[in-house]
Each structure stands twice: as C-alpha cells, then as structure tokens.
C-alpha cells in the first residue's frame, strides 16, 4: 500500500482538509459556494482514486454523485436562490477569521491525535483517511456554528457530509456506501428545497429579542 497509491490518496484527502480551511474564512456567499464546489471536486477525485485502488467499481458511482450533484447542481441552485430571494451576500460570523482559523487548527490537531492513536490496527491508508475525514467533519461543524446565515450553515453541513463520504470510502469494503451517499443527497436536496420554499432568509440573525421570545413562547 505504500508508494504512489498511498501518496495520491494522502494528497487528495489532505487537500480536502485544506479546502475546508479555505471555506472557513470566506466572507462572501458566492466565494463560499465556489469553494464548496472545489471541495466536492476534490472529494470526487479522492473517492474515484479509492475506487481504483480498492477495485470497487460501485464507488465510481459515489464519485459521480459528488461531482454532478454537489460540485455542479447544488452550487448552481444555491446561487440562483441567493439571487432570487435577495439574500445578503455577506456571511455574518459569530467569531472573527483569526479565531475561527485557530479553532480549526485545534480541531484538526485533535482529530489527528484521536484517530491516529485509536486506529493503530488498521491499514496506513485507512488511518490517514479517517483522521482527515474527522478533521473535515469537525471543520464542517465549526462552520455551522460560526455562521449565522441559513445558506452558510447548509454549506457547512454539506462539507461535513463530504467528510463522512471520505470516511466511508476509506473504510475498505464498506457496504451501503452508495446508498448512504444517495440518502445524504436526498437530505441535502430537501434542505435546499426547504430554504427556497419556506424562504428562510437569514434564519439565525434575528437580533430582535422580542421576536425570539415570542418564538419560544416565553412571553407573558
């Protein structure tokens, strides 16, 4: 497993983490969507490489889903929604860029420490893959909690999910990967339709505390 196969898999999974960081500091929605498309392309390449290495042709299907659905369809649709609904193009964040990056680095370090320690029994490729996948998952979570816009959160969720697909393909011979990636695609499609149908503009930037109280049903 050592040698060029391992290096390429390592490179692609590492790039996925890098692109996650790129998403973390974007402050405009369009740029964020472009970065997400790039994220999906890297994921597709990574999955395709795993399919080739493991000799598992069904994984090519997962790669195709990532490429067509996540890298093309979703960004284009979200782009349209942003225009159509007149959503703010700036991303409102809870913490500054510097803090977010530091937190992100902390999370990556954490996942390396945790995963590399517990996966000593597994193959080198699976180990690295899982460590990177957990980093991507945690960075996605970080993105979701630091963004206030609905679209920003959805992108965070989708990149989190990319990390899961990476983990699932890295686990050699795991069944149901294709089904799970389809289930996730349906989930994401629902979220995107939800944004559009329900016109959730900037769900989490309600600063009107009274509105929030009314929502919680706590006003006397």
């Amino acid at each position: 497993m050592r040698g060029i196969t391992f290096d390429i898999a390592h490179l692609l999974a590492g790039s996925l983490v890098l692109v996650s960081f790129l998403q973390l500091y974007q402050d405009r929605l369009y740029a964020l969507l472009n970065m997400f498309a790039l994220h999906a392309v890297v994921l597709a390449l990574s999955v395709a490489w795993q399919a080739y290495v493991q000799g598992a042709p069904h994984l090519y299907l997962t790669a195709m889903i990532a490429l067509v659905f996540k890298a093309i369809v979703i960004p284009v649709v979200l782009h349209r929604i942003i225009v159509r609904l007149g959503i703010h193009r700036e991303i409102e964040k809870v913490v500054g860029v510097g803090t977010a990056m530091l937190l992100g680095m902390g999370l990556v370090a954490l996942s390396m420490v945790v995963m590399l320690r517990v996966t000593e029994g597994a193959g080198a490729l699976a180990r690295e893959d899982l460590a990177f996948a957990l980093s991507v998952v945690l960075l996605g979570l970080l993105m979701m909690v630091t963004r206030r816009n609905a679209v920003g959160q959805v992108v965070g969720f989708m990149s989190l999910e990319n990390g899961l697909v990476l983990a699932a393909t890295g686990a050699k011979g795991m069944p149901l990967v294709v089904e799970i990636s389809i289930a996730f695609s349906i989930l994401i499609a629902f979220i995107v339709i939800g944004i559009f149908l329900f016109r959730i503009r900037e769900r989490f930037d309600t600063v009107d505390l009274q509105a929030l109280d009314r929502f919680r049903g706590e006003r006397q």
């Binding site: 945790v114 995963m115 320690r117 517990v118 996966t119 000593e120 029994g121 597994a122 699976a126 899982l130 996948a133 957990l134 998952v137 979570l141 979701m144 609905a150 959160q153 969720f157 989190l160 999910e161 899961l164 983990a167 699932a168 686990a171 050699k172 011979g173 795991m174 069944p175 149901l176 089904e179 799970i180 289930a183 989930l187 629902f190 979220i191 939800g194 329900f198 959730i200 769900r203 009314r214 929502f215 919680r216 049903g217 706590e218 006003r219 006397q220």
Partner: protein
Amino acid sequence: MSAVTAILVVPALAAALLAVLPGYRITARLNMLVALATFLIALSLFFGRPPPGKYLHVDDLNNVFIVLTTFVGFTTSVFSASYIDHELEIGRLTPTFLRFYHAMYQVLMFAMNLALVANNIGVMWVAIELATLTTVMMVGIYRTHEALEAAWKYFILGSVGIALALFGTILIYMAARPSVGEGLDAMVWTMLIERAAGFDPALLNVAFVFLLLGYGTKVGLAPLHAWLPDAHAEGPTPISAVLSGLLLNVALYALLRFKMLLAANPHALAPGPLMVTMGLISAVFAAFMLYRRRDIKRMFAYSSIEHMGIITFAFGMGGPLANFAGLLHMTMHSLTKSAIFFAVGHVAQVKGTQRIADMGGLTVTNPVLGWGLVLGVVAIAGLPPLGIFMSEFLVVTSTFARQPWLAIVLVFAILIGLAGLFLRLNTIAFGEPRGPSAESKASYVPMFAHLAIVFVAGIYMPAELVVWFQNVAKLLG
C-alpha cells in the same frame, strides 16, 4: 410474506395510497385501519418470528419496542382523526396538506419500524434519517413563522446528530472488519454481537462516543436537546405525541444496540457511566426548566427530556434490575406522555391557545378532558399507584443499592419535576375558568385507554410480561 416484512410493507403501501386518495374522512379512517393492521401483525411476532436475516431480525428486545410503537401509532391515529377535524374547521390545515400529513404519518411508521427491525447498522441509520426527515416536514406543516423556525432548527440539529451517528457507524465497521471480514457481514448486528469480543477496543470506544452524541441528539439528551421543545410545541399535537412517545425511544433503542456491542467486548470502555452522566444531567436540567414554561406543549416536551434522562440513566446503570426498570419506565412513559398529548391537543383546541396563562378551571368547564389531564399529570409526575411510580421506584431503589449518591440526585430531580408540573397543573385545571371553553367533540377513548393501562400496570403486571421484560433486561447486560 413474513410478519417482519409485513410491518414494513403495510405502512409503505398505505403511504402511497394515502398520498393519492382524496377526501380526508376516508383517509383518516384508512390511516387508523392501517395502523391497527400493523399493530395486529406486530402482535403476531410474539407467537412466532422468522430467523434473523442479513437485513431484518426480531429478537426479544426489539419485539417490545415494535409492539409499543405500533400500538401507540394506532391510538395516535385514532386521536389524530378527531384532532384534524377541528384543524380543518378553523382552517389551520387544508385538505391538500392533510393528504400529505396522512401519507407522512405512515412513512414515519414505516421508518420507525424499519429502524427497529433492522439487523444492519447501516439500514438502521438510514431509517432513523428517514424518520427525522418526515417529522421535520410534519413539524413545519402549519407553515407559520414559528413552525418553520422550529422545523429548521430541528432539521439542522437532527442532521448534525445523524451525521455524527454515521461517523460512529463507519468506525464500528472499521472495528469489526478485521474479525468479521470485509463486506456486508461487518454491518450485520447479529454477526457483530457474536464477534464483538475480538474487536479493537480503542476504535469501539471512539465509535460509541460519536454514536452517543449522534443518536443522543435524537433522544433529546441535554445538552443536545435544543430542537426538542420547539419541535413539540409548533407541530400538530399528534406528531408531538408520536415524537415523545415513540421516536425518542427508537433513537434510544439504536443507542442500546451499540451499548450491547461495547458490553460484549471485555477491553472496551464501560458505556454505562457515559449514559448515566448524560441521563442525570438531562433529568436535573429538564426538571428545573419545567418552572419557566408558559406554553403547555413546551412544558410537556421538557418533561419528556426529563423522563428520557431517567430512562437513559437506568440503562446506563445496567444490570438486570435497572434494565428492567428502564424498560418498564420507557413503556409507561410512552403510554402516559402520548395520553397527555392527546389531552393537551384537545385542551389547546378548546381554549384556542397553548399559553398556560390563558387557560384555567378546565375541570369545571370541560370535566372529562380536565380530569383526564389531571390523571395524566399525576401519572407522569410519578405518584402512586400508577405505572410510572412503579418504574421510578425501581430505578431509584436499584440505584440506591449500588450508588446511593446518584440515587439522591435522581430523587431530587424527580421531586423538582413533580413540583413544577403540579404548579402549572393547578393553573390549568383548577380555579376560576379562564379563556374560551367550547365543547370538545373529541374522542377520549385513546387517552383513557392509555391511562387505564398505566393504572393497571401500577397495580398488577401479568407474570408473562414480567418474565419477558426480565429476559430482555438480561439480554441488555
């Protein structure tokens, strides 16, 4: 077709049929009929069950869950039929939405049954995802601002939860692969439990942490509970009943399966203390939160968090007695809480609001409904001689024998919760009548049926049932 496939196929077909049938009276009846049929089929599982397959299996543990789920599913469909009549009258729902609602109801039943009978941890995950999606849509069905916000919040938090659960599932596969072998077998639960002793303990530990956080979000354990009160308060009340009574249990069931895997591995970390901690935090936290509630459905949602905390605590303690108590408490809580939501649904319709401050003197204006609610709250608060008293008593005494300090904290939470509930009940049920008091044309049968079972269970339990629960408790380790 075996009974196991039937409890999946029947709701799935019914969902397709209900989506196209016009006329809400027919669909509401059909919904009831299908739910009843599913319940009867589930009952037949007690008498004979097919051998476990690669995807589906039934054992003593999930049989209890399946019967409970289909039973409450049936009674809720009866309640729902009288509930939606009123919602149509006041125009909160339109016939088109109603069609969607009934179809979704059966999809939810299908998803929960699938999650329960799945013998494959991947299939179980997909089923729980499906159940989440359908409930999200049902919560948002009124399309008010609040309902959409609640649905969105539930959606995002639920998605994060199931994403973490999937990561945990992948790690379990990784842990199983060396000893079970590549491919489908390494996700089949009956294979996993046989070979669990040989799994890599470190991987299992990390996997369980992810599963606990992921499925724990769906159980509504603090501090991951934020979605639960909103989802309960803003959706249609039958959905609140199903959420509290069933879906939380299904998520807990998933957690229990993985707990059994860890327990079967001698080197893995003991899953008990983690569950005990989260359960206790949930119970104490939710008990205090009961005091500041002004919305009746939201209050009972917090009570659900409290009870899920107690149940998780009991299963975390482990051992035959605590597991038995946990199972009993789960059953009693499902029945009581759904009965309370049946009552609350009618109360909110009679009073035209969910605000506690606008309700009062319910036992005077609507005696049957009012006393039904009082009985339900007495039951859920854990007063003797009802069923929840029995189960809480068992949880507390079995804990006292092993960890007295934990038991004291638990008793404290239960008492705080009891006082909080009665404080509000006093406003709602007694005193001067406040707010409008229309006659309710509702059917009280489901509510009183549940309460009757809870009442009888507090006094007498059939020996067969006790033996059955004892077997399951042993199975849980």
